[in-house]
Point group: C2
Chain length 419, copies 2
């Protein structure tokens, strides 16, 4: 749909923004034959890219908190996950898509089970999903073939939606759950199919210590030895990287996804070395992680916590400025996904939000980006457009009540028969 | 006004809540002659107590971030503050009151200039303000008399509103800006007038080091030697307390107010020892600090960051549970203020919120308190009642547009002529 946004604030000035063929076609004027959206009293900004999440875990929101990692996983999360099927994942992912749209996110990178359920949710909600399963063989060579087959099937099923907004990704869970052989095979699949490669890396000290003990090298070095690093690499967490690993990531390309809320909530014991990463030219992006360890998908909050954590950990209030963290959540994510997005400029994809400037958290407007990062939350977003499709207008998303009702039913179904 | 809230969720069950004479008079039934509020699809919870803020600093929101503390104060904040007058403070405080109401806060403890402006704002907005100026003599004995006089005047002007919701507090800025003599005089005024005593304490290492150098003892010990500690003591920050200080605070009574967002944003270099404080029976409360160092007044966000910071700093995800931090933001604050509040029970004051359970962040509802702390933000609050007065219904606060317009004007007036 062609759209004309009238009288919207952009870089401090009122202007019009035209969208044609999914792209921002013109700034400053446009055709009144298009669908017109009144931008008065609103600012236009690029929408967010959530670079690491497990969207269907919305169903577990608040089910288990304040626990140590291992009992949390073993007693709470894994038993619930064993009950999931494609239909439940579909319902949980729809809830996640709804939440993302309502807080201004239009692209997300997901790693989870029953990926077809998530793909179906994305196809109905109209945002961009970069979707993978999670290969795991637990170092059992007998599982290799089956995991490779599963991955190929997942790629096929994501592609079957035939939309450039629904993109398969190759997902390997982590180095402590996937053998070197399978990590390599997954990389081959990714490269052959021109897909990204998504993995949890260096999230806990235990993972690093175990890797060194087992392989004689640190996790990133281990991945590099396997040939896994490269431009299509998406490494989630990366809080325990040493200097050599950071340099390697800079040399090989790809990105590291910071998940500050999850890292703090699960007490992973270290903090992302943002400055080290960017001074080695690593593309640093932002992600929410899943709702079991966050417990929301609001990228406004994630930006604020990212800035607070850098300042507080490095004891310097100048660390990670609002502008830097805003870019982490927008333009850096688009870059990682190979999309020309994250800026409101002619020729960029029309993935954007209108933000209500009359919300009390946005008053006064000394500095719009500061207000986004340090004051606002997702509720300031009033209109969301993704590739020219209007996903939310006046904070209304299509079928919201039904999505919520189905998600509540799904959550009850999973949890209901716990004993 | 007598109120009957029908069909509202309380402790997992649907019930009715009656309010008579500013107090929760009955749970389970009520008279239909009262004003009826439909609580269907909503939960009732105690409203929040923001135990440390500088409300008129909303006018500086986003004006200066990501700076080192001293240039931030000297180049940005202090020059702006020098331009303030009672009218500007009134407008900034009204904006703050609006923001607090919209995010479920009905009581706040404020320390700022031109306190009459804040008192007027509170009187018009209907929440509870515990208001002080900030005595400062910069160790100049000639200023003693004038500061004492100013404090007495402030008490009188706050009392002149004749409302039990507008309560004077005695405010001394900090031990590094106020002489021992003045700290003592302020304590005498507080005790004589049966008022609370509000001070910034142990916020930075510099403050502690300087105190030890100058007085031979740590800040809390220094205050104790002056006779300042006691049941009416409100100490804001307290991130650099040692064991002896924590024990002293426990013995003398009073409370410590945690301001995690501000502490992280300004990089104060340490973290509140929550566990140490509560195991010494210190009442730990929660505050947002001012909007220049936060930059909002949303106690939902403050609760989450408090929990995240304890878990991450102490490397233990079990630290500061959602239940504990919820109490920090509610019942502990009421206790500090000497109010029977913070619980939805018969006989407690009717300071409460209705929260919309159909908001996407509240879905599913495995654990309501977890959803409040880890998932929600202020936008889930739909109705706010303070002492039986309805301050917000259906998210509408009276005169909102006018308050915002006046605050925007005030902010422009202050910042406009910067060169």
């Amino acid at each position: 749909m062609d759209i004309l946004i009238k009288n919207v604030l952009l870089n401090g000035k009122k202007t019009d923004v035209s969208i044609k063929d999914c792209v921002i076609s013109e700034i400053g004027s446009g055709s009144k034959d298009d669908k017109v959206i009144d931008g008065s009293g609103k600012a236009v900004i690029p929408s967010f890219v959530n670079m690491h999440t497990h969207s269907a875990m919305t169903l577990f929101r608040g089910y288990a908190d304040d626990m140590a990692l291992i009992p949390w996983l073993e007693e709470k999360i894994w038993p619930l996950e064993s009950k999931l099927d494609e239909k439940l994942v579909y319902k949980g992912s729809k809830l996640a898509c709804l939440e993302m749209i309502k807080s201004g996110t239009t692209s997300f990178v997901d790693m989870y089970w029953h990926v077809k359920g998530t793909a179906k949710a994305v196809s109905e909600m109209g945002l961009r999903g970069y979707l993978s399963g999670a290969a795991i063989d637990l170092f059992d060579a007998d599982k290799h073939e089956q995991q490779v087959e599963k991955c190929l099937q997942e790629i096929k099923s994501v592609r079957s939606f035939g939309s450039d907004k629904i993109v398969p990704v190759v997902g390997a869970h982590a180095i402590y759950t996937v053998s070197g052989d399978l990590l390599k095979s997954m990389k081959e699949i990714a490269d052959k199919n021109n897909l990204m490669y998504h993995i949890h890396i260096s999230e806990t000290k235990g993972e690093v210590d175990e890797c060194i003990k087992k392989n004689g090298v640190t996790p990133v070095k281990y991945l590099d030895n396997l040939g896994v690093l490269g431009e299509n690499f998406i490494g989630a967490h990366g809080v325990w990287l040493d200097e050599e690993e950071i340099q390697l990531l800079g040399q090989r390309g790809g990105c590291v996804v910071h998940n500050p809320v999850s890292n703090m909530k699960l007490a992973v014991g270290s903090v992302l070395d943002y400055k080290g990463l960017i001074s080695n030219s690593v593309n640093v992006c932002l992600g929410s992680d899943g709702c079991a360890s966050n417990n929301n998908l609001d990228m406004f909050e994630e930006m604020k916590v990212a800035a607070l954590l850098q300042k507080s950990h490095y004891n310097d209030p100048r660390r990670l400025t609002s502008r830097e963290v805003f870019e982490m959540a927008t333009v850096n994510g688009y870059k990682a996904l190979g999309l020309k997005g994250g800026k409101i400029e002619e020729g960029f994809i029309a993935d954007l939000c209108l933000v209500d400037l009359s919300e009390v958290m946005m008053i006064p407007n000394h500095n719009l980006v500061s207000n986004f990062v340090y004051s606002a939350n997702g509720s300031v977003v009033e209109c969301v457009i993704c590739g020219g499709d209007v996903l939310m207008e006046n904070r209304v998303v299509k079928d919201e009540d039904k999505i919520i009702e189905e998600a509540v039913g799904a959550a009850e179904e999973i949890v209901g028969d716990r004993s």
